[in-house]
Structures are given as C-alpha cells and as structure tokens.
C-alpha cells in the first residue's frame, strides 16, 4: 500500500515537473512567436514617425531616433488622393460585401436543401471551377476586350463577389439547421424565398457575419485585379493599389535620382511610404481583434471541406 502511494506520488511529481517544463517552453515559444508577428508592424509604424534624415543616417528602426510627423503632414496636406482612394475602397467593399453575401447565402441555402433536385448538379458546376481554370490570359482578355471593364471599378468588384469556398462554408453552416423547419413552413404555405428571408437568415446571423467579413477583408486587401485592370489614367485607385504605386514608384524615383546624381528634393520618400502604409492598414488592424472570432469560426467550419 505504502509502496503504491509512494509510486503515484513520485509519478505525480514527475508529471508536475514535466508540466512545468512544457508550460515554460510554451510561454517562451508562443510569446516569442507572437512578438515576431507584432514587431514588423512596429517597424513600419516607428519608421513612419521618424525624420527622413534619421532614416537616411541610421536606417529603419522600431523606435524613432528623431521623432517627426512630417511624413503624415505631407500626406495629409493634400488629402484628396488618399481620401479618394479610401472612398473607392470603402464603396467597393460595402457594395461588394452586401451583394456577395446575399448571393452566397441564397446559393448556400438552396444547395443544402435535400428536396432541391438540381443541387448536386449545380454544386458540381460550382466546385469544378476550383479544379480547372482558363488561367490569367483568357480571364484578362474577357474582362478587357469582351466585357470592356478596363478602368472600371466593376472589374474589381465583380470578380470578388463570391467563391466556391464561401458557398461551401455557407452550406456547412446551413447543414446545422434541421430541414424540418423548412418543411413545416412549407406545409404552412410559405414560399421558398420567404422561408429563406424570414426563417433561415435570422437563424444564420453568425454565419452571415463570418462570410461577410471574409468578403469584406478580401475587398479591403484587394490589389491584384486592381493592378490588372485599373491603369494610371484613373484618378482614384483602390487603397492597396495606391499603396503599391507609392512603394514601387518612390523606389523608381530614388533609383533614377541616385544614378544621375540629381539631388533629391525634400520629399521624405521613405517615411511617406510607411505613413501611407499605416493609414491604409490601420483600420483593419484596429478592427480585427473585435471580429477575429468570426474568422476563427469560418476556418474551422470551412477548412477540412474547403
């Protein structure tokens, strides 16, 4: 009896010690990695608040060696450009999310109805697009030469509306609602669309929030279609494309100036890039901690069947 007690006690102690070790490792590794995820953002923020002269002298740094808000002043002195880009991105995001969400929700619900005869055919029709695609060149020709959407915001808005992934996600969410609800409403004489709007939508609000946020984040960070289809002729381009141009073009200015020994004007090129990056990304970073649980839900629902 004593022997056993001693044995469990010693093993308990061993458990405690290994538990402490593993907990220590966890705190160090997780804390360290979390810090690694944060630091690059502090680097951008810190540089944006440094004077251009200090950047030229000491390079980019987390903590401003010479504090200055000059870059922000220059950016905000002529706010037309960045406000225009903000307005374009917000407009595309709001309209695209509303329309896309409605389409994804309708389709997801209809395709999850067991009594919908065409559900397998349509599901496969949609799913097939992830297996085989025409690639970039035909897509580009379609948008520019057949739909004539070059330099049109619709070229960014339309392709981002939905994706097979989001429809599959909606289907998984709807699956948790018993079909009996739809059936009893049908017996009461309700039409399919009424059932969808009055019964299903209110029951799937967390799903709608999740899918809406996925679409909205996609639009906010959209730069690829913007870069393909919106040329420099447009006065206001979406935020990420604006940032992309600032980053790459200021680079070009710097390189050409360095090659020809032309003295640079007083434009704080480097710190301005960072300031614009902060202005373009700030809203997302401030907003996402409040909604990250929806993104967590989305990936756990959609991941394995994605």
């Amino acid at each position: 009896m004593d022997m056993i007690d001693e044995k469990t006690q010693s093993s308990r102690r061993a458990t405690d010690r290994s538990g402490l070790i593993i907990r220590g490792i966890s705190y160090i590794c997780i804390g360290g990695f979390a810090l690694c995820c944060l630091l690059p953002f502090l680097l951008v923020l810190g540089t944006s608040l440094t004077s251009e002269a200090a950047v030229k002298k000491y390079g980019f740094n987390f903590w401003p060696k010479e504090f200055s808000t000059f870059a922000y002043k220059i950016v905000l002195e002529n706010p037309g450009q960045i406000l225009g880009s903000y307005a374009v991105t917000m407009g595309i995001t709001i309209v695209g999310t509303a329309v896309g969400l409605l389409i994804v929700a309708m389709t997801g619900y209809a395709l999850q109805r067991p009594d919908f005869l065409f559900r397998n055919k349509i599901s496969f029709f949609i799913y097939f697009t992830t297996l085989f695609s025409g690639g970039l060149v035909p897509f580009y020709l379609l948008i520019t030469q057949y739909l004539h959407l070059k330099d049109n915001y619709l070229a960014v808005l339309l392709p981002g509306l939905l994706s097979p992934f989001l429809i599959i996600m909606m289907k998984s969410f709807v699956r948790s609602i018993p079909h009996a609800i739809t059936e009893s409403a049908k017996i009461d004489g309700a039409g399919d669309f009424t059932i969808f709007v009055k019964l299903i939508l209110p029951m799937t609000t967390p799903a709608l929030a999740t899918i809406g946020l996925f679409i909205a984040l996609g639009y906010w960070n959209e730069w690829y279609n913007s870069m393909l289809f919106l040329s420099a002729d447009m006065q206001y381009r979406p935020l990420q494309l604006y940032l992309y141009n600032v980053v790459t073009k200021a680079d070009a200015i710097r390189n050409s100036a360095a090659a020809s020994n032309v003295p640079l004007s007083d434009v704080p090129i480097e710190t301005m890039k960072m300031a614009i990056a902060v202005i373009a990304t700030g809203p997302v970073i401030l907003f996402y901690p409040f909604v990250q649980r929806y993104f967590i839900k989305g990936i756990t629902v959609g991941a394995v069947k994605g």
Binding site: F33, A34, V44, V104, L117, G135, I299, K305
Partner: protein, 322 residues
C-alpha cells in the same frame, strides 16, 4: 407509422408518374432562381475564359485576334520544354509549395499544441490575436515590410549587421537568399491562423482520456507524444492531401510583392508559374506562351487533385470531395 410511409411512398410514386421535367422545374423554380446569380457568376468569370485556352495552340497576334492568328499545334509547349522554362517553373512552384505545406503544418501543429499548454487566459488571448495579425494584411504591405528589413541602404538587417561591424548584404540581388526569405515570410503569415484548425481539433479531445493518462503516471511530454499528436494525425493527413491537390498553384501575391515586378536577377530561384504567366501577359505580351503554361498547370493540377481525392476517399470517405 407504416400507413404514413406507405402514403408517402404512393405520393412519391404518383409524382414520379406524372412528374415531367417541367413539373420538376416548377417545383424547384424558386430555388433555381436563388442559384441563378451564382451560376451566372461562374459561367462568366470561370467558364467563359476556359475556351480561351485555345490560345495555347496558336501564335497569337493582336491584329488578327484569336481566330485569325495562325494555328501552331504544340509548338508553344515544345518551345517551353526546349528553353527549360517549363521545368524551372514547375520545380520552383512545387518546391515552394512543398516547403509551405510541410513546414507550415508542422509549425501549425506545434503552435496549437503549445497554445493548449498555456494556462493564463489573458496571455493566451493576446498572443493568439497577435499571431493572427499577419493573416489580415494585404500582400502589398508584406512586400513593404520585407523591404523595411532587407533594403540595402536602410534595412533593419543591414543596420544590425553594420552595428556589429559586418558587411551589409545585397539581398535583392542574391538569388540564393530568396527561397529562405519567401518560406520564412509565408510561415510568418500563415502559422498563427493555420493553427486554428489544429487547436480546434485539440479542443475536441476528450478530457477524460487525458486525465486517465495522468492518473496512470504519464508526464506532460508523454501526454503530448502519445495522446495529443496521434489525435491530430487524421486532421493532418486530410489537410496535407488537400493542400497537395493544389501543389501546382503558386502563391503569386506573396512572391510578386516580395521580389518585385521586374527583378530579373532573382528569376532563377523565385520565378513560379503564376509570375511567368503574369509577365507573359503584362510585359512580354506573349499571350500564347502564357496560355500554354496555364493549360499545362490546369491539366496537370486536375490530375493531381483527382489522385489526392482518391487517397482521401480511401483513408476517410466522409472527408472526400467527390
């Protein structure tokens, strides 16, 4: 009960007898209309471009258009093979994806397991939020962050090297550095968010099993080694097979924004299928070569997905896609 099912059966039978295609259509009309916008979307943006792959078999020139340009058969593919481009693009795309998938999943599992060992609720929450952060930003900003660190003149890396009395590095002209930079950046961006799936799986682990093991004297390492990791194995295999299905689809946004649009010095180690197609469209205007690479990617990728799905169906039928 049996009366009801009999009645149902007879009703169904009657429906089948009278049910023409039109009747079926009428019964499902509203649901069909609800699917219509999505179907139209995929017709326009996914199916309409597909016949455009005919470009791969012609020598496209702008003035003659798609149907006036001369038909050259497999000439474009022959060219891609002869120049070695196809092999280089395939190798780079597959190698990057393999590194992303394997290292990514291993790190995601590690983060999920360690996260599960944390006790402080506040610490857990804050660190999780910080680890998700890189997932929520645009590829453009990732390129800018890399520039902040790696730039020759002002980059943080060279600042540190110089303060240690070492020579600054010309990263943007050193092709051999980029596989590491690209994979590291991917891991930085994807690990936190990707760990959610594994973390959720660990949450589904029955606490009684863990407690029973502890009573039997298993220490924390044994608990992880013999209970948690085996528990994650099915999730790991399924995710692995699904990502292997996409092994020919490159991460254009990441590589394009890290490397820059026209940094020819780095093509040997950074050029993937997507960047090549993009260049053939936007800078070289060789639409036919770009389409040939796309067609190769789509067909070969299709075969790989079918294989991966066949494996998934063998291992766990409820997870297979079709």
């Amino acid at each position: 009960m049996s009366v009801l099912t009999e009645k149902e059966a007879s009703m169904e039978h009657a429906e089948k007898r009278t049910g023409s295609w039109w009747k079926k259509f009428k019964n499902n009309r509203t649901l069909l209309i609800m699917c219509l916008p999505a179907v139209a979307f995929f017709v326009v943006f996914a199916y309409l471009p597909m016949p455009g792959l005919y470009l791969a078999f012609i020598k496209y020139n702008y003035s003659d258009g798609i149907f006036g340009s001369p038909f050259v058969g497999f000439e474009n593919f022959r060219f891609l093979v002869m120049t070695g481009d196809l092999w280089r693009l395939t190798f780079n795309t597959v190698a990057y994806n393999l590194a992303f998938i394997l290292l990514g999943n291993v790190l995601q599992i590690a983060v999920a397991v360690l996260l599960n060992e944390l006790r402080g609720k506040w610490f857990k929450k804050v660190s999780q939020t910080l680890m998700f952060l890189p997932h929520f930003i645009s590829a453009v900003l990732i390129g800018l962050i890399a520039y902040n660190i790696l730039s020759y003149d002002y980059g943080l890396l060279n600042g540190i090297l110089q303060s240690l009395g070492m020579e600054p590095l010309k990263v943007y002209t050193s092709p051999n550095a980029w596989p590491f930079i690209i994979v590291l950046t991917y891991l930085w961006q994807a690990t936190g968010y990707g760990s959610i799936v594994y973390f959720a799986a660990i949450m589904g682990l029955d606490n009684e099993i863990v407690e029973a093991a502890e009573i039997d004297g298993a220490n924390a390492f044994q608990r992880i080694r013999h209970i948690v990791l085996p528990w994650l194995k099915p999730t790991f295999i399924i995710l692995l097979l699904f990502s292997l299905g996409g092994i020919l689809k490159g991460n254009f946004g990441l590589i394009y924004n890290l490397v820059g649009a026209n940094n020819t010095a780095l093509y040997a180690t950074t050029d993937i299928i997507e960047t090549y197609v993009f260049r053939s469209l936007m800078t070289n205007f060789n639409f036919s070569l770009g389409s040939a690479v796309s067609l190769y990617q789509s067909l070969f990728g299709f075969a790989i997905v079918l294989t991966a799905n066949w494996l998934v169906r063998k291992l766990s039928p409820e997870n297979s896609l079709f």
